[in-house]
């Protein structure tokens, strides 16, 4: 088990290296002078060389990359052109709200999605099934920025139940998390359902029936545990899309998170910010999938030993 975990962790390292290369290369793909790009526009000609050196943009591309990574390890992601502050510090200030949204959305959508999926599978091809599938289809297909507006109009403006901005209190967190979570409910419902239906047709379920195991136990113990494996993968993947989707929710609900920071960074051509944010988001996603992978082994003994 430990060995597997260790191996899995080591496996992500090459992945992270390539990832960092891609993010590093990003800025280089932008037409124009990287020094100017990384500095914003106003770089005085006499300080150009100094800035180039400071930004680590001197030397060959390989040297530059190595230096960039070294700096990353020192926690240096450069300085924001716009706010003039260290990017890492800025990201640190904004990471929590995004994490709350993504984790909250993941938890919410997992609970609803798994519930829906289970119910739909149990009532396969009956009204409940069709109803839940259509509902979850509507959830995935409605743009979150659209549903966010509608939820605000109803729950903030009309009913005055919930705040429409910020993430200051648990009450304020409800609407954004719900908006974000709903986008993932659909795919989790689908995965849970099809995975359940898949499992229910497996031979070992028939074996369990032949042993006289009560139907309820079969569904919740024998089938569910097996069905959970693809659902876990799906949850891991969903976390990524929620992380990115938080951008939209943060925009509508005026939450100062990573996503909005990224979008502002793009709008401001603040490339150090864009680079840093993209890197942090992608790494978080990779790490979450690593955790999910490790969780598998708790659910699926085949991974632990084989």
């Amino acid at each position: 088990m430990l060995k597997y975990a260790l191996k899995r962790i080591l496996q992500t390292i090459p992945m992270l290296i390539v990832l960092s290369m891609v993010v590093f290369g990003m800025v280089r793909l932008i037409p124009g002078d990287p020094v100017k790009i990384m500095m914003g526009i106003d770089v005085a000609s006499d300080s150009y060389e100094i800035e180039k050196e400071r930004l680590g943009l001197n030397g060959t591309i390989v040297e530059q990359y190595v230096r960039w990574v070294e700096r990353l390890f020192d926690g240096d992601m450069g300085t924001s052109i716009f706010t003039k502050k260290p990017v890492l510090q800025e990201i640190g200030n904004r990471f929590k709200p995004t994490l709350i949204l993504a984790v909250g959305g993941t938890v919410l959508s997992s609970i609803i999605g798994i519930m829906f999926g289970l119910l739909a599978a149990i009532r396969h091809n009956r009204f409940t099934d069709h109803f839940l599938m259509v509902t979850s289809l509507i959830f995935v297909s409605t743009p979150s920025f659209f549903s966010a507006l509608i939820l605000i109009l109803i729950f903030s403006l009309q009913l005055r139940w919930l705040p429409s901005i910020g993430l200051g209190s648990w009450k304020a967190a409800i609407l954004p998390i719900v908006t974000l979570g709903l986008t993932a409910v659909g795919s989790l419902t689908r995965t849970t359902r099809s995975s359940m239906l898949d499992v229910v047709h497996q031979d070992y379920i028939r074996t369990a029936r032949a042993r006289g195991v009560p139907e309820r136990t079969i569904v919740f113990r024998d089938a569910f545990r097996n069905a959970l494996i693809p659902v876990l993968t799906s949850i891991g993947l969903r976390f990524g899309s929620l992380l990115a989707g938080a951008t939209l929710v943060e925009t509508v609900f005026s939450i100062s998170g990573l996503g909005r920071f990224l979008v502002d960074g793009v709008g401001n051509r603040d490339y150090p910010v864009v680079q840093g944010t993209v890197l942090v988001m992608a790494i978080s996603f990779v790490l979450v999938n690593l955790i999910v992978d490790l969780l598998y082994s708790a659910v699926d003994p085949r991974i632990k030993y084989s």
Binding site: G240, A244, T247, V266, Y271, M281
Partner: protein
């Protein structure tokens, strides 16, 4: 399988059939609608702003007195052409990579798989934002973002199918017969993967409309006055209290089109290959 057989099976799912008709209707409107609209998409009647729903303006007018229906129709052209051009080119590349990786294996596979992994490490929207950050705004760049967004999942799906097909005995039979790689790929592997590819493309079309509209909603994709649906929604948001249709119309348009693509995709999956029913398609959105 013949077209008739597929159609017969497809017809059985009523929801998918309805969705198909909705899509066909929307395509038709996007194609010929502009010849029938009374107004230009940018034509203003400042005196007539926020006109209520009427015969002249079936969906009312916006804050500049522009006819919302007209804009919606023109917008469908933008949104759909971004989706189609982006998805088709992205999926083409994805299929190519997937086939190469799946069929040739070894280092080609390792290389492509790593590339796919890295692209997949960027959640869809993040990838699109990053691409637009590099390329800048505009319709063309949004298409490119959508295209790149489609590549990794398609490549992964195709790779999986190709690997499983490659181990199918009928493909090995061709190898034993001395068939060329090209023949095996095109005649046997691709044709058998085609139904899955078609289904994936259909589902990708839906999710890329969501992505493209999300980009323009963030002010990063298509810019006004181009009547892309996401951009319209963004613009309408400011006046949504005075003119709810400005948000509702594009929002519902996006939702309906995306739902329809999903339903058609599901229907196609069942119709094209009943065996694929429980296959999990690459996660989208």
């Amino acid at each position: 399988m013949t077209f008739q057989a597929v159609w017969k099976r497809f017809k059985r799912r009523k929801t998918s059939l309805i969705a198909l008709f909705i899509l066909l209707f929307i395509f038709a409107v996007a194609l010929v609608g502009p010849f029938f609209t009374k107004y230009e998409p940018t034509e203003m009647a400042l005196k007539n702003k926020y006109a209520p729903v009427s015969l002249d303006n079936p969906l009312g007018t916006d804050q500049l007195g522009r006819d919302t229906l007209t804009r919606l129709i023109y917008g469908s052209r933008v949104s759909l052409s971004i989706a189609f051009a982006g998805v088709l080119s992205g999926c083409f590349v994805g299929v190519l990579l997937g086939v190469l990786a799946g069929y040739f294996g070894s280092w080609v596979d390792s290389l492509i798989s790593r590339l796919i992994d890295v692209l997949l490490a960027f959640p869809g929207l993040l990838l699109a934002i990053a691409i637009v950050a590099i390329l800048g705004n505009g319709v063309l760049n949004t298409m490119i973002a959508v295209a790149i967004f489609c590549v990794p999942s398609m490549a992964r799906i195709v790779r999986g199918i190709v690997i499983s097909l490659k181990n199918q005995e009928f493909v090995q039979a061709c190898q034993v017969m001395g068939a060329s790689t090209g023949r095996i790929l095109f005649r046997h592997v691709l044709t058998n993967a085609m139904s899955m590819i078609i289904v994936t493309v259909t589902l990708d079309l839906g999710s890329s409309i969501l992505t493209a509209s999300a980009l323009s909603f963030l002010g990063l994709g298509v810019m006004p006055p181009n009547p892309e649906w996401g951009a319209m929604l963004n613009a309408g948001k400011e006046v949504m209290r005075s003119y709810p249709l400005g948000v509702l119309a594009p929002g519902l348009a996006i939702t309906i089109v995306v739902i329809s693509f999903s339903l058609v995709g599901d229907g196609l999956r069942d119709a094209l290959d009943p065996r694929l029913k429980n296959l999990k398609i690459g996660e989208s959105q």
